[in-house]
Amino acid sequence: MTTTTPTKRTVPALSRLPGIPGRVLPVIATFVLFVLLFGAGSVRYEGFTSGQVFANLFIDNAFLIVLAVGMTFVILTGGIDLSVGAVVALSTMVAAAALRAGLPAPVVILLVLAIGTGLGVLMGLVIHHFELQPFIVTLAGMFMARGLCFVIGVESISIKDPFFRALATGTIELPGGVVITWSVVIALAIVAAAVWVLHRTRFGRTIYAIGGSESSATLMGLPVGRVKVAAYAISGLCAAVAGLLFSVYMLSGYGLHAVGMELDAIASVVIGGTLLSGGVGYVLGSLLGVLVLGVIQTLISFQGTLSSWWTKIAIGTLLLLFIVMQRLFMRRTP
């Protein structure tokens, strides 16, 4: 139904600021607004402007960064992956259960990565070969992954493995006394790798091409099927990595971990200026998107005495403020 009538993408008609290509504008907008938000926090709360608060943004959101990177690949092809939150939970569960069963950490890590990637491949294959809608297939994938969590166990399993514990507690001190964790290093390495893949490899450019127009990409003789499946595989792999980081962060596996985290990941990507219709966006934008969500969380934690509902309302309001400002920012630039 939708595959045969490619309609023209409405690429936002952004004219350019001198020297800045129109399509990086949203990323710049996100960046500017992020700085404003951070600045607002600094003005309002004491101790907000420390390097450690900034570093904590990365530490507390390392898994979300990885998740958002994988999600960016999928969304750039014009798809979506709702399963990632559940795959994170499944990864923590598999890791915890396998470690408890006495498997060595490297094997566990490989196992988790294989499961995540495998699920991604499976969903990608179904999406591509049967032309089912990504939303539904990955929603089913989400049910499946969560369900498997509970098949493994309904209780939370704590992780006592020394390697995981070491990763959790190990820190790296940066100049200036700022401390980060290994998770941050892994997450940033993945971001860097993703930037390279998306911009400097044929595979990456094909991802963009598919998002621009899948039918055109096919007619141009590009390996659309393979690349699309690979995008979901990457998302699955990233979810598995995020799951490992999350197990390190929580030091437990639990089927109810990361509920709704897929929406956080999608929100980060979209806030970072990526269009859900595909073909337009940057990994760095997604990274900024995660940081924006992180700052919002930090602001709320600095506020301290909020009841859980005010927290929700505040998150919603800040999110709203952000997207509306981003929108206006982009409208005004002629």
Binding site: T2, T5, V11, R200, A209, S213, A217, L219, G279
Partner: protein, 524 residues
């Protein structure tokens, strides 16, 4: 199986097409649900020839090409490439086997840069990384070959369709293909660009490349093609050497009868031009939009056909969009029948009696997933509002009337417009507006991609409508068409109106004007 030339009507001969064909398709049939697009078609293509595939809209030309390149799997028949049986599973395989194709609708990625669109999938690499500098240089070089000087780093969507078409061609000729397929590559090109393209095609042909070419412009076909194959209603009519077939013969082979309408158009146009003038249907003063088109004045009387002429990017479409409220003007006044109107949205223009057929059929025209019927009545329905559906009887009558009048095929109002051939989509679009009985009809490239029979039909329709009092703005890249149909010609250049000529203006006059104002620009 061996080739059996004895059943052919035209023997390979002359300097071209000696030896075995590169492509030999036999007994190809292709069925879509409810449509037999091809029935038992034979086709062959020789190295070193330009072979034109001719036929009306919907004859099956694009389908045959897509069968050849593996986009569709034929219901029956075999394809041989270099004597070997092939059945490509998709365009990627066809490309790998040396068949390079430009499909009919521009099939590129609007979100990527021009350079990427040309080189996607075969970018120069260094250590596994795409070499950006080399990509850019290579793209520049390929664009240069097409006579294009645009920035390879610019985003494709920023360029008009004609440029996109040229980019698609640049992509296709960038590889060393043994077979080059061009499905209506010239439909939105200027004369100069066509000349450039032909130069390249001749060059490739002389190098032994087999070129399959589709066009509805007979002059072009006769200029470039060595041989042609004619299709009609999905069946093969015949294969001929170009020099053996007169235009008249070709046309009657394509449409299956004599073509009488063409001469009629000439006469009608002449008649109508006498009635030019009268009360202005629309009068624009100082209308303009920054960055789009400089303020201009325009007066269109009832029964008048005003042609807009100018090169690519001269502002033809932009002018039309202002008149329709598709873009909002930031200066000027528009009066319709003497009353000032504010054209803020297309909707307000429509209620003022203005209609607009966009040149971008796919993006701004048809609704592919809807039926012919729904597409036809859409504008009228929108104007009536949702609460007042058009009665079924009226709807059926309207649909029946216009489908017959414009000869829309397949003759099934429930067919999805997205599945129609390009030309028929155009007719549906035209009919959508005629149904609303507008006072002013703006046609942006209405005959692009339309076969000569239908083109004549549409031109005739335009003159008839004008004779009945409708005002028409007619935009076409084909100057002959503009000169022939229009009572007045507005010449545009670099996004501003430079002159207005009366109906006696010839193509040369217009050309001259475009050229001189060009030299003025250069001089100043």
């Amino acid at each position: 199986m061996t080739d059996t030339p004895s059943t052919r009507t035209a023997q390979p001969g002359g300097p071209v097409s000696t030896g075995a064909p590169v492509v030999a398709m036999r007994g190809i049939s292709m069925e879509f649900p409810g449509v037999k697009a091809l029935q038992d078609v034979d086709f062959r293509l020789f190295p070193g020839e330009v072979h034109a595939l001719m036929g009306e809209n919907g004859a099956g030309k694009s389908t045959l090409i897509k069968v050849l390149t593996g986009v569709y799997t034929a219901t029956a028949g075999t394809t041989q490439l270099q004597g070997g049986q092939v059945a490509f599973s998709g365009p990627a395989e066809a490309q790998a086997a040396g068949v390079s194709t430009v499909y009919q609708e521009v099939n590129l990625c609007p979100n990527l840069s021009v350079a990427e669109n040309i080189l996607l999938g075969r970018e120069p690499r260094r250590f596994g990384s795409i070499d950006m500098a080399a990509t850019r240089t290579r793209a520049e070089e390929l664009l240069g070959r097409m006579g294009l000087t645009i920035d390879p780093g610019s985003i494709l969507a920023e360029h008009p369709i004609a440029i996109q078409q040229l980019v698609a061609i640049a992509r296709a000729v960038a590889v060393d293909a043994q077979v080059l397929i061009l499905d209506e590559p010239t439909s939105s090109l200027d004369q100069d660009e066509v000349a450039e393209l032909f130069r390249i095609m001749r060059h490739l042909r002389d190098e032994g490349v087999a070129i399959l070419f589709v066009s509805h412009f007979l002059e072009q076909v006769y200029e470039i093609a060595d041989r042609m194959t004619v299709l009609r209603n999905g069946r093969l009519v015949g294969e001929h050497l170009t020099k053996d077939l007169s235009r008249l013969q070709l046309v009657s082979a394509m449409i299956g009868r004599e073509l009488g309408v063409l001469e009629e158009v000439e006469r009608l146009a002449a008649d109508a031009s006498d009635e030019a003038g009268g009360t202005p249907v629309l009068e624009a003063t100082g209308l303009g939009r920054r960055g789009s088109i400089a303020p201009f004045d325009l007066r269109i009387g009832a029964g008048e056909v005003v042609g807009l002429a100018g090169l690519l990017g001269s502002g033809r479409t932009e002018l039309a969009r202002l008149l329709f409220g598709a873009d909002r003007a930031d200066s000027g006044v528009v009066r319709v029948a003497g009353r000032e109107v504010h054209l803020r949205t297309p909707r307000s223009a429509i209620s003022a009696g203005i209609a607009f057929c966009s040149e971008d059929r796919k993006g701004e025209g048809i609704l592919g997933d809807l039926s012919i019927r729904d597409n036809l009545v859409l504008a009228m329905q929108a104007a009536r509002g949702w609460a007042r559906p058009i009665p079924k009887r009226t709807k059926d009558e309207l649909v029946e009337k216009w489908m017959t009048a414009l000869d829309i095929r397949p003759n099934n109002p429930d067919a999805l417009v997205g599945k129609l051939s390009g030309g028929n989509q155009q007719k549906v679009l035209l009919a959508r507006w005629l149904v609303t009985q507008p006072k002013l009809l703006i046609l942006d490239e209405p005959t692009r991609g339309i076969d000569i029979g239908a083109k004549a039909q549409i031109q005739k329709l335009v003159t008839e409508l004008a004779a009945e009092g409708m005002a028409v703005v007619y935009i076409s890249a084909e100057l002959e068409e503009v000169a022939r149909l229009a009572h007045r010609v507005v010449v545009l250049k670099d996004r501003s109106k430079v002159a207005e000529l009366d109906g006696s203006a010839s193509v040369d006059d217009i050309m001259h004007l475009i050229a001189t104002s060009d030299s003025e620009q250069v001089a100043s």
